[in-house]
Amino acid sequence: MSSILQNLVNQPYQHGFITEIESDVAPAGLSEDTIRLISRKKNEPEWLLEFRLKAYRQWLTMEEPGWPNVKYPKINFQAISYYSAPKPKNKLASMDEVDPELLRTFEKLGVPMNERAKLAGVAVDVIFDSVSVATTYKAKLAQVGIIFCSISEAVREHPELVRQYLGSVVPVGDNFYAALNSAVFTDGSFCFIPKGVKCPMDLSTYFRINTENSGQFERTLIVAEEGASVSYLEGCTAPKFDTNQLHAAVVELIALDNADIKYSTVQNWYAGDENGLGGIYNFVTKRGLCKGVNSRISWTQVETGSAITWKYPSCVLRGDNSVGEFYSVALTNHHQQADTGTKMVHIGRNTRSTIVSKGISAGHSSNSYRGLVRMTPAAAGARNYSRCDSMLIGDQCSANTFPYIQASNPAAMVEHEASTSKIGEDQLFYFAQRGIGAEEAVSMIINGFCKDVFQQLPMEFAVEATKLLGLKLEGSVG
């Protein structure tokens, strides 16, 4: 088969360009002084500085994890610049005042934020290298009491809320990268949905890494109070650089009684060239806490970018009858490495979780699913269903599955299934019989393979994701 299967990957990265904006960059290196500098630059209250320093001191005692199934040269944390913000100008009153260079960047990305925001009815909180520069639809959200702003703004405007929830799901010393993030995070999004409010629109953030050698440490915090619901979208692209960039974000979700949070991600950061040179290191901690009864947290992710992905969006199901979901498509090509999956920790009674993971590996890439399902002794009547399927394209790639199942409650049920397959010649032949060329056939087969996950995405994202997989695999199938 294979000339078609062999052409499907070599599309150059379309979003590789660097915007020249004056940046206010801190000198490289990490010390308590750097953290004090970040905190001072952002005019932060004392408690947040304490939070950062506590995290930093824990981080110093921790070791870089060696267990993920990925290989990369050791990161020199002292060579990274931990603060980079566009030079503060006067406060912007309207979109017209936003740096035109910046707007052009978004246009190149296909995200003309004013238009797209209107067309799609999406409120976009744009993060450009760590500092939020423009927020739309804020007024409309404010009418129903929703707070949606950058986390620095939230620290200024709503310190009591941030203080209450920040670090409550991912403690400062949770893991090596979460501790690093807690110490040096510069910006991110904050979203608070008050009691009984259904968010009237999908919320989304675009992350973009700019400025060579500045690791990005985003912090996202979403709180849904009793009976609230929200759907949050995150989409990522990054310019093309040759040195690796570290990205260690932390995302915390909290759902109180009967609340519902849906978090969708499309990640397409620069993955390095076909020889594995460059690309983003994406070491992310994402965790949701179903704190209240009948709450629900749903993660959907389409991971196609980054040289290395190390990411386990998790749910801690503490409230009785709470529900955790994880839907994932991870595609790796060339020399990409992905070690991704989820953790479902069942604590409350009758908690339920569903895991659907689809991994596609092509080229010389390595794609691992690593998941944990834990039934604690209190989780009577809990249920889990997991399904992880892998597809291999070419014989130089690998697909691995590491599902950990830990059960200590006899009244809990855990089911796990996994399979590995390839695109069969008989399948391609069937398409050929009906006049469909191999490339199109492969694209259709892959979309069918990922259907269960794409169905979970909001519509615009589903379209984007389908296109993205096609682009990513172009040239590798044949």
């Binding site: 014989d395 599902p403 830990q406 409650n409 049920m413 996994a418």
Partner: protein, 434 residues
């Protein structure tokens, strides 16, 4: 001698063990093998829960115990032997506390079924080619300790195209408390041969003891071996077993591993499908209660194309017991057309019992069919109801269903008398639990 406490524990094992009595008569290569293993013992340490492979199995209770040298001659009462013997067996090798008991052993099979030092006289070259070559001791502390003491052991050589329908039994019995034994077994199945081997580990006391067993099997082209391993050590025992199997072209290996006993047991089974068209089927059953821990790690390594593997592992866990299963299936680059499936089924019978299971796939070839599944749960309420609607008591219904769950694995054993004996043991244990 390493500085750490765990390292010195391995040294203490070495010190207690008496030197093999006839060590001076061993061939030079065997002396070298022992010396190399001893060297590794010095460099290795007892694994801790910080090692990924031992995350759920804490060996620190073992390292707090010390063992005495074995006393007297290997001897068994005839009633005990009677209870453990199999009427079908064509040959039997008995090891008491790790030492060969010639008076209890027999061989009517026409094959080489002998203690290692005796068998080596005839099969020196092939023993040298296989002993210590499959169960690698470079990274495994327990295999290294076993190899460093290598003396007595079962040697079974099945000649080319020889077919033995009746089973060969290898009995390893612990009779003395607070001792350590190091059973060793080597099976060489020459091309086209067939063999059924029953390895059984049992204790005649309720005290603590330490069994560190190593088994190696080499199957040549078209050979077929059925391997049944029964572990019924005492409830205070520590049992660590390593088994390494190498499969040549179109050979077939079928294993059934049963673990009932021991306070802490760990069994590592590594099967290498070294040539094209090899097949293996691996079944396992752990039936534990009380404060027992049963840990089973298997590796099915598909190194060449057209391999086939099937695995079913079941655990029935009661009381405060803890079962661990880690089943790794590796498909190496180029091992195309591999067909592999694996299933881990676990029955939790009590609120304090715990199951950790991790089926694991690592695949480096694209034209393969691999699947695995895992379930953990309790007895199906509808099935219990169905039996109760037919007049069975709740306890009887649960016992019957639990028994049936385990019987699926036992039913795959080809030796009728052993199957019956194990079924009775499962019944006894499940009725005690119910």
């Amino acid at each position: 001698m390493t500085g750490t406490e765990a390292g010195s524990y391995l040294d203490s094992l070495i010190r207690v063990q008496a030197q093999p009595p006839a060590a001076h008569s061993s061939p030079a290569w065997l002396k070298q093998l022992r010396a190399r293993a001893l060297e590794r013992v010095g460099a290795l340490t007892v694994p801790t829960t910080r090692d990924e492979d031992w995350r759920f199995t804490d060996l620190s209770p073992l390292t707090r115990l010390s063992w005495h040298p074995v006393q007297g001659a290997p001897q068994l009462a005839s009633a005990d032997l009677e209870r453990l013997s199999l009427p079908e067996a064509a040959a039997r090798l008995v090891f008491v506390d790790g030492r060969y008991a010639a008076q209890h052993s027999f061989n009517h099979s026409g094959l080489t079924v002998a203690n290692l030092p005796a068998g080596m006289a005839e099969h020196g070259a092939s023993v040298e080619a296989h002993l210590g070559r499959h169960a690698r001791f470079e990274q495994d502390a327990f295999t290294a300790v076993n190899t460093a003491f290598l003396h007595d052991g079962a040697l079974i050589v099945v000649a080319r195209d020889a077919v033995l329908e009746a089973p060969v039994q290898v009995l390893c019995i612990s009779t003395q408390k607070e001792t350590a034994s190091y059973p060793r077994c080597l099976v060489i199945a020459q091309p086209g041969s067939r063999l059924t081997i029953i390895e059984e580990f049992a204790a005649l006391h309720q005290g603590a003891c330490f069994t560190n067993a190593v088994t190696e099997m080499a199957l040549a082209d078209n050979a077929r071996v059925n391997h049944v391993r029964v572990q019924r050590d005492s409830e205070a025992a520590f049992h660590i077993g390593n088994c390494a199997v190498s499969l040549a072209h179109a050979s077939r290996y079928h294993a059934v591993g049963i673990a009932f006993g021991a306070r802490l047991s760990r069994y590592n089974l590594n099967v290498l499908l070294a040539e094209e068209g090899a097949e293996c089927a691996i079944d396992g059953l752990a039936l534990i209660g009380g404060r027992q821990l049963a840990d089973s790690h298997t590796l099915i390594d598909h190194a060449k194309p057209h391999g086939l593997s099937r695995q079913l592992h079941k655990c029935i866990v009661d009381g405060s017991a803890h079962s661990v299963f880690n089943g790794k299936i590796m498909v190496r680059p180029g091992a195309q057309r591999t067909d592999s499936s694996q299933s881990s089924r676990n029955l939790l019978l009590s609120g304090k019992a715990r199951v950790d299971t991790k089926p694991q796939l690592e695949i480096f070839a694209d034209d393969v069919k691999c699947a695995h599944g895992a379930t953990v749960g309790q007895l199906d309420a509808e099935e219990v109801f169905y039996l109760r609607s037919r007049g069975l008591s709740d306890a009887a219904a649960r016992m019957l269903l639990t028994y049936a769950f385990g019987a699926e694995v036992i039913g795959r054993i080809g030796v009728a008398s052993l199957r019956r004996r194990l079924e009775r043991a499962v019944q006894a244990q499940t009725s005690r639990a119910a």
